[in-house]
Symmetry: C5
Subunit: 355 residues, 5 copies
């Protein structure tokens, strides 16, 4: 999961703005869906190639172009030319391990976010980069994997009386950011479930790999935190700064998402605290266990060693020894063994051992 991406060094020495896709190719082919809408109507259609880009109908107040699969650098270059994107923006869209950030350009804002994937077979977090460009009257979204993150927004758009249709490109961008942040809630709930399962295990009968599991969870929490912190900053700066691309009414809504990110980060902190406590309890239980074993050993030695000595003494071959001829000698010896053990035990007990 938190593997260091290896591909970066391949790009060393290339001129900046060279379009090389960095990251896993997660979608075989690229899909472009164009949604144009305004208060009066909405059309949705799929673009099939770079030629189609020139057929975008500019009469609708808002055009939203959503692209799945960003590894096709030629197509990306065409999109860049069509919307006047800076080469560095395109480069960042293709390098899919960007940190969340917002860069202001003259004609648009470039926002990078990261989402995490839940519904996967392998039990670890997979990240996917979402790039969002907001200009006057258009929104572009780029993603490598074909995820359903934006589906709820699309459905609200299809509703005829949806306020979304009225509220312009910046409100659409807000709605998209909102779904991105909302997606974190379920990820964190899932991690919370894992933490609780681990808590039960550790307070009950921990297996050998409990420590590793705890560290794995801790690293996943760090990973999320490291993505959420810049997300928080991105949204915070969008909300605070006077930008031509977000109107004041919309910025009020951004404050709401901002609160969500703060809330998410606090939940992460809660889970971290829980894990740290669990680790302490686990390590202490190992220590307690050693103590228990040593105590058993001491107890055994207390009971059997003195008895063995008594047996050894009466097993010596001296000619004249007391008790040997007596008919009760054997039983006296056994009694002696028992009483020595009891006496020792009493002494140790009074000194607070064995308790």
């Amino acid at each position: 999961m938190a593997r260091i991406k290896k591909r970066r060094s391949q790009k060393s020495g290339l001129p900046p703005g060279t379009l090389v896709h960095i990251g896993e190719v997660k979608t075989p082919s690229t899909t472009m869906v164009l949604t144009c809408f305004g208060p009066d109507g909405l059309i949705e259609r799929e673009l099939t190639g770079s030629a189609d880009l020139d057929t975008i109908d500019e009469s609708y107040p808002v055009r939203w172009l959503n692209i799945y699969g960003v590894h096709d650098s030629e197509l990306m270059a065409a999109v860049g030319r069509r919307f006047g994107l800076h080469p560095l923006v395109l480069e960042d869209i293709l390098n899919t391990d960007q940190r969340p950030k917002v860069d202001a350009y003259d004609d648009y804002l470039f926002i990078v976010g990261q989402i995490y994937d839940v519904a996967r077979q392998r039990d670890d977090l997979a990240t996917d980069q979402i790039s969002l460009i907001v200009g006057n009257g258009f929104v572009l979204t780029f993603q490598e994997r074909r995820s359903g993150t934006f589906e709820p927004v699309r459905q609200r758009l299809r509703a005829e009386k949806s306020p979304l249709r009225r509220l312009g490109a910046d409100y659409l961008a807000y709605a998209l950011l909102d779904t991105i942040v909302d997606a974190y809630f379920s990820i964190i709930e899932r991690l919370g479930d894992k933490c609780e399962a681990l808590e039960e295990e550790i307070l009950g009968k921990p297996k050998r790999d409990a420590l590793q599991k705890a560290h794995q969870l801790k690293r996943e929490l760090s990973l999320l935190r490291r993505t959420l912190w810049p997300m928080r900053e991105v949204i915070g700066s969008l909300q605070r700064s006077q930008s031509q691309f977000f109107r004041d009414e919309t910025r009020l809504y951004l404050r709401d998402i901002y609160d969500h990110t703060v809330h998410l980060l606090e939940q992460l902190e809660d889970l971290r605290d829980l894990l740290t406590g669990l680790l302490d309890i686990y390590l202490n239980s190992v220590s307690n266990r050693v103590n228990l074993e040593v105590r058993t050993l001491t107890l055994l030695t207390t009971v059997f060693m003195p008895a063995a000595l008594v047996a050894g003494i009466f097993g010596m071959n001296f000619r004249s020894m007391p008790w040997l001829e007596s008919p009760d000698g054997f039983w006296s010896a056994l009694a002696l063994m028992g009483s020595v053990a009891v006496a020792l035990f009493a002494i140790f007990w009074s000194r607070r051992l064995f308790r």
Copy 2:
């Protein structure tokens, strides 16, 4: 207690401003109490439905509407319309796991706080959100649980010559905030008592679950701290900022509450320090205990092993062995056993073992 709230993810994808209650329903029905007052008089009455909202008498200088039970979204929407509240404000009132914050709107301030509940059977902290809206001449307070937090303020209002009646809506808001902060003192005293009980236990004879108790307390302290920090910031920002809703005289009083929150946070730090020290002492006591057990074992071995060897030697079946025939042989052997043990013990003692 510090469970991650599960409900949040249900809201993913809904448009912002959708009124969905998030959190436990703690009060079966909603109660609205309206208190209108001024220097000349006071009326108190219960409103029974959204229709009653239109009957509020605006002639009194201050109207205070207190609502218990915020899960009835339709009623909340009616309240929102009556007082011109922004949809996001209503949404935050219903999502009862908000972080303390203050949001400034054109016509009112929206303040969110959290209180904790003491008088409960289950031994952990239950939180409840208090939302407070201060406008010109009106104060709205929202709470899910019907707690008695605001009772003292209400009683002071009922006193005919109370300065509260004279001092306007902002002073009422201050008085309410003051009771909210005061409620923390008793919570922290209760945690302090628990800490002291744990201290006595650990310095005396700690039970096995002392560590878990300590971690539980630590988490409760973190939880409180995480709520108090933003409370402090909320009150600090109210006190500093030039707002039309708080007059300068009232801001002087806010500085006083601000000092209280700082004081509370320091008490939390004190308790944290105490707990950290206790944990160290506890863990060290486990370690000391292992040492004590091993020492006992070594002592036993020192005394009995050499003696057993002597017994074994005189138990060998060699034909010619010294002492065997002698009448004092047996006693000499016992003396030998004793002296070897004493000698070994002396050696170890001189080397600072067994001390």
Copy 3:
């Protein structure tokens, strides 16, 4: 010492400005000493009740009223009326667990400090609050306990040519603050002595409660630090801010006290470092001790177990066994025992055990 004050919650729900004394009553009756002075002379007299407050002679350039015992709320209210103090100021003077702070009012500065008591039987720190009010031409000081903190200032005032007489109320306030900060030096020296005593104990032969002592010291250091930090801020802000109550010449002297507080905080840090190091050494010594015990045990087992086996072998009752009939058999067996032990010891030594 660092007990959480319990009394705070008694005040919940009372209106602000209600005068309730919070803290221990340390002085049975209240004493008020008035000192009026100027370049030309000085009178000192004791005021016996609230009526006397009106007899204060305003012709002297500086009036200093020092009050021991602040639990008499009626008298305090009278003082408040006489000097025009805000109700919140009086409340803070009576709540004797305030954090050091400075509050600016129109007619005076209100400064709260804390001192610690050394000359006491019980071995822990007792704190006492000193409240200081500086106005134009007057200084008020409030303290619960009758300590001698301000005695040196009083004596310097009595000297006829003392520069103190010339330099006005703000310089007097500075001189009083200076004695407060100076009092910390002896407290910290005393803690330093305790730390060194503990160091000697731990490096020599630590007793069982060394850990508890170290934690106690650590908490006392934290307590001091938590008081000194805001003291530093108080003095820093007095020194920096342009206030009508402190002239530029006096602020130069405040910078000097400020340096003292920084110095004190560094000494605290030094002691903390020392203690942390000591704790590490102590805990490691426990660990080393376990190792030493286990080593002794191993050594004993190495020497005696093989010998016991040899003895056991020659104690078997087989009819035909080697050596049994030989006259040197016994001695050969003993030699065998010795050589096995020596051989084992040599093996372990060569593998770096027992070293």
Copy 4:
């Protein structure tokens, strides 16, 4: 690797600006390569001595002088005179253990960076200082070792239509900085590989020096971090500040490198987290191992000690003892031995030992 450089103290007491080379001499002789270019052409030639410095053709818009080997203080002084460098700049170029920084002078910017060397026999990081001076129309680069860091830039320059030729001295400086930052990616990938190898070892069967390896890696990470932090600041300040030496268009590109440094620092944090987790797991595994050994010991004692006691008892020489004469006595004794061991084992098992 992280050895403290010893040479610094040799310079104590010398006047500032004295040119003394500090650091390892890594290149026997000094090489100076001059590259002059503009949109219309490019010449590259090697300068052979200080006399050649005066033959630099100023007609090309950009002159880039790259110098390998900075230990020749006389030549450096000549370069300084030729380009009007401040004595302190020259001193810093020669002291090759500078921290990355940027100093603004009237006629040029002086930038210091550090690169690390991968392709070396010894398995640790070797650092080399790169000093960069950007003026109007000229760029100077200084390096002690002859590394190929700038080779890609040189090759892009040689391409006839390269945008580099058009974009001036500041863009060249950016391109050089870019290669410096890019070089870190491969270093961090290499450290990442080492960390993963160590992870496999520790989760499998750790060798004795695993701890040392982990600490070595941790120190290398700290070293990198300590270089990268100021690098980040250098680039951040170049990007933010309005300098005459970097045009606005170029500053956009600097923002890109800035993102790279942030990304690098996060990867370092990731690796640190990984290592910290590994260390915990390793230390815990040692602890677990002790527990396992003690358990084995306890088990052995449980089985053999009671049996030995039974044997000892029937080896006593009493005249009258039960079972001795019985033909099944021997077997009964053996059965007794077995059953005592089983009974003890059952007791301990039921008390959760041996599990």
Copy 5:
């Protein structure tokens, strides 16, 4: 070394500006050396008493008065009167445990620094305070111990064409500060040597006091750090602030010293990291050692306990026992002993014990 200075509390209650020397008297008598110089010449002479102070020749552009031994409070007062020093400045010069700081007065800057002493018999750091006053045309330096710190500057001054003679009082002050900072390099190199020696010891065969040594080193590093941080700030603020006493050209040189202090602090951090790693390795080695001992014990028990049981069994006195009469019985018994031990050993080995 890091002992808390005891003398401070003696001054409690004295009026500010009272000249009491605090610290060790390190030089029996006071020496004052006056150096007057300008581009045209230089005279050096020793002043013998306070009367000589009035004979200072003001015609030279720069007068530098260097004073060793500051415990003579009367002489100090005379110096203060001669140069118009504020009483608090004199007080700070005499209290030789000041924190490094810079205080601006109308007619001069007052700078306090600390140096450490290397060439001493006792193996710990001794600190000495250097006070520096820079005015228009004069520099005063005060030091208790007669160290050679400023010797290199004096020698550069004596050279007839030295730029120092031309560059005025502020450049002289810079040169003196430079030697103070340079002195730290050798101190840190010495600590670095000690750390490396300790590293070798701990990775090899650590002695019992390794831990104490490491903590001693750590405290020395903290001590240095606590002095260097404010030194850095002092120089940073001199470099940044627009002061009439330092010209812009000289401030460029101050930036150079500033870089040195940053560099020194990083070296301290490096050493701290090294020590922390060493402590971990040392503590882990203790833990490993316990494990090794326990393993040996287990091994011994595995081999000898079962054999002893077999011997005990054949030593029982039953009338009818197998093997006893057989001529090979003895050897069979020995074989049995061996095989039980081998079998047990094999079992434990297969379960990964003893590896």
